[in-house]
Structures are given as C-alpha cells and as structure tokens.
Symmetry: C2
Subunit: 234 residues, 2 copies
Amino acid sequence: MKPTPKLQCLHDLRRRILATEIAPGTDLDETALSEAYGVSRTPLREVFQRLAGEGFVELSENRGAKVASMDLGTLRTFFQTAPLIYSSVARLAAENRTTAQLDSLKDVQISFAAAVGANDGGEMALRNHRFHELIGEMAGNAYLTASLNRLLIDHTRLGQVFYRPASVAESLAVRRASEQHDAMIAALEAGESGVMVELTLDHWTLSRDRMERFVRPDPLPIDVIQLSEKRNAV
Amino acid sequence: MKPTPKLQCLHDLRRRILATEIAPGTDLDETALSEAYGVSRTPLREVFQRLAGEGFVELSENRGAKVASMDLGTLRTFFQTAPLIYSSVARLAAENRTTAQLDSLKDVQISFAAAVGANDGGEMALRNHRFHELIGEMAGNAYLTASLNRLLIDHTRLGQVFYRPASVAESLAVRRASEQHDAMIAALEAGESGVMVELTLDHWTLSRDRMERFVRPDPLPIDVIQLSEKRNAV
DNA sequence: TGTATGCATCTTGCATACAATAAAGTTGCG
DNA sequence: CGCAACTTTATTGTATGCAAGATGCATACA
C-alpha cells in the first residue's frame, strides 16, 4: 500500500463523493482536478473510468465525468432493491466469512463507535459505509457485491443528510444502529445466518425510517381554530 | 452511432470475450491490441478500465488486463445467485417495460430464432445474451442491472461450451428455449409479472440442467461382469 | 425585441515520447 | 555446479502537445 498520487486521487474522489462534498450531478473538470491532485490528465481520466465502473460517476462522450445523480427514479429503485440485496448478502456473509475479515470488521466498528462518541456525522457515515462494504466482501459473491456497492454509495450519500443534525432522537437512533452492528458481528462470528438476516432487516428498517422521516417530516403546526374562524367569516 | 475506432474496439473485445474467442484468464497485450484496432494505447487503456468496470476483465497494477477468469468459486456463486437476480429482474421488467423496449426485444428474438434455424451456436449465444440484457434494461433498476450483466457475461461464456455441438437432444432444448423467449415477450407485453417470473425460472432450469449435464455427463458404460470377475481373480 | 449564424474560447480525446517497474537472462562467485 | 546479484529487455504508467469537438457570446438580420 504505497501512496501513489493516482490511487490517492481515486480514494479521495470516492470519499468526497460519498461525503456529498461533491454534490450529485456535479461536473468534474479534468484540468482543475489534475492540477489539484498533482497528476496529469491521462491517469486522471483512467480514474474517472474506474469510478464510472463502480457507479460513483457517469461519463458521456465529449462531456466529461459527472457525479452520479440521485433523482426520484434512483431513490425509488434504491428503496425497492436494498432489502433484497442486503439480506441476501447478510446470509452469505454469515456462511462464508473468514476470521481475518471478522477482525477487520471489528476494527471498523471500533472506529464507527468512536465517531459516534465524537458526534462526527461525516466520519460516522464513512465508517458505516466501510462496515457494510466489508460484509459484502465476506459474502464472497462478486455478482451481489456489484449490486451492493452501488446501493451503499447512494445509501451513504442519503445518510449524510440526516447524520448531520444529530438531534436527540437522531443520536438515539445512531446508538441503536451501533448496537445492531455489534450484534451483527456476534452473529457473523457464530455463523448464525438466520439471526444475521433478521438483524440486517432491522438495521435496514431503522435506516429507512430515518430517511423517510427526513423526506416527509412532521408537518408544521396549524392553528386549526383560526382556520375555522376564517371559514365562518367568509 | 458513428463507428469511432475506440468504440469499435470496445464492442469487439466484449464480443470476443463473450464468445470465449479470448479464453478466460488470458492476458491482454496493450501494444498488440492497440495496433490491431488502430488506436493508440491511451484510449485502449480506457477501454480496459471500462471493461473492468463491467466485469469483462480484471486489472492489476503493473500487470495489465486479464480476461475475467471462471474458476470453481465463480461457478458456485453463479449458480447460487442467478435465480434470485433473474427472477427479480423479470418481475420488474414486466412492470416497467416500455413499448420501444419491447420492440427491440422482438427484433432480437427474431435474430435469435434465425441463428437457431441456421444452427449457428456462437450467434445464438450472443443473441440470447442481448435478449436477456434487454430484459435487464426493461427492469430499469441500475442496482440489479449491475448484478445481472455480470451474471450474463458468465452465463454466455458457459453457454458457448454447450451451444456448439448441437446434438439432437441439444437442438431440442434450444428450440424449447426459443419458445420460452416468445412466451416471455407475451408476458412482458401483457404486464403479467407472475407469469414472467415463472417463465424465467423455467428458462433458468432448462439452461442450468444443460450446464450440469455438461459438467457431469453420463458416465461411460462399465462392463460390470468383467469387473466382478477381476475382483474374484485377486 | 427576438432569433439565427459565425467566431472565439474552452474542454475533451488521442498519439507520441519518456519514465518507471517487473521479468528474464547473464555473469560472477562460492 | 548452484545460487545470487546485476544488467538487460519488455511492458506498463505518465506527461505533454496537438487536434477535434462543444459551448457561449456577439453581431447581424428579421
């Protein structure tokens, strides 16, 4: 693992996209980025191609690279697909995980818990991303991993939105999520695929509810009496 | 759609890999291929990156590109995953297909039937590939499509093996597959997702059985009497 | 005032030349 | 004769320069 500028650029772009530091739909300028990362345009373009393959960006002819957008259609398919893939991967992970992978997962979970303690929303989202990415690796199924990683990109980007504010209710949900991670590690270690699947679905439900509440928050208070008076007045 | 040499190269490499004209595991030489396709190494490398993103090839640092291998692990996960993804995609395709997509699908099926008539195994496999790729597009689910397309790559490459010989039993199976395609088109047109899923699973079973029979053929005849005589002789 | 066309500028795409890295072969020494 | 270190060679990775395409603006005409 040597920090060649090209790989550093690749990793940093991934991170920035996941952190929505670069917003979905943003055009990526070759010249500017190549100067910023100190690489020439040639390797940068290869990085773009690779990011495109992973679903981080979209390429179009003579139009350069653009961060993958998240429109209504994307969101719809996201909610449609996530439970299926997540639970399938969870089952396989419990069956196939190696102890080395389990150790890595534990490390990541420690980092995640630390971020929760520090109330660092961005860090939490990224560690959470890595946590689930690792579970994907445990499953050892290249076909599902392709799906999973794309789901995780959008999941993390959506998560950035509501990891930030950290109201009291939110931080409670985050602690709950962290506990679920611990339980998952236990289930994976024991190879209890059934438990793992159930935990994963619970985890999904928790996350989904928070996303839904963000999209459709409680309506602002309406002064009902005033409204009815108005109606009578007319 | 203009035939720029770069895209031509991309498509041709895809075709050759699917046709196992370039065998799994083969190393791809940049210099040789760039000369062959009349493009410089720079765009060719971008093609490699793209093919890697699609799962056709694997890249490794300072080691160039290699056609995606198909070892035992790959096969195992392939059989494990295919029915799940195929049926999920089938359901969505029936719900979301546009008439334009349906027209394309009909065209491809005509080509497929023609290839069956001409007994052209390679062409059959490629048209079949495109048929199922289109169903993936109909589903309109980028996450599942990522999985599906990777499955299809390996499915087509496996298929090349047994599409070739075309014994009497084989050609019967192929005709059966073609009929299933027709039925699928009808189900998609009617939006009958349940029927579509069932057809897809039948289609999978047919394909799987042929693959299994190829991997584990009927054993050679054993002269049992001779063997038992030998045993007595010892 | 609205629209169309031509020009200028900027961005992307490609090829060639050069640098770095890995593989293979050779030579020297034990 | 065998092993090891060094040199050579082949192949990959990177940079720069140029060409082609796209975008935006200005000007002219309806």
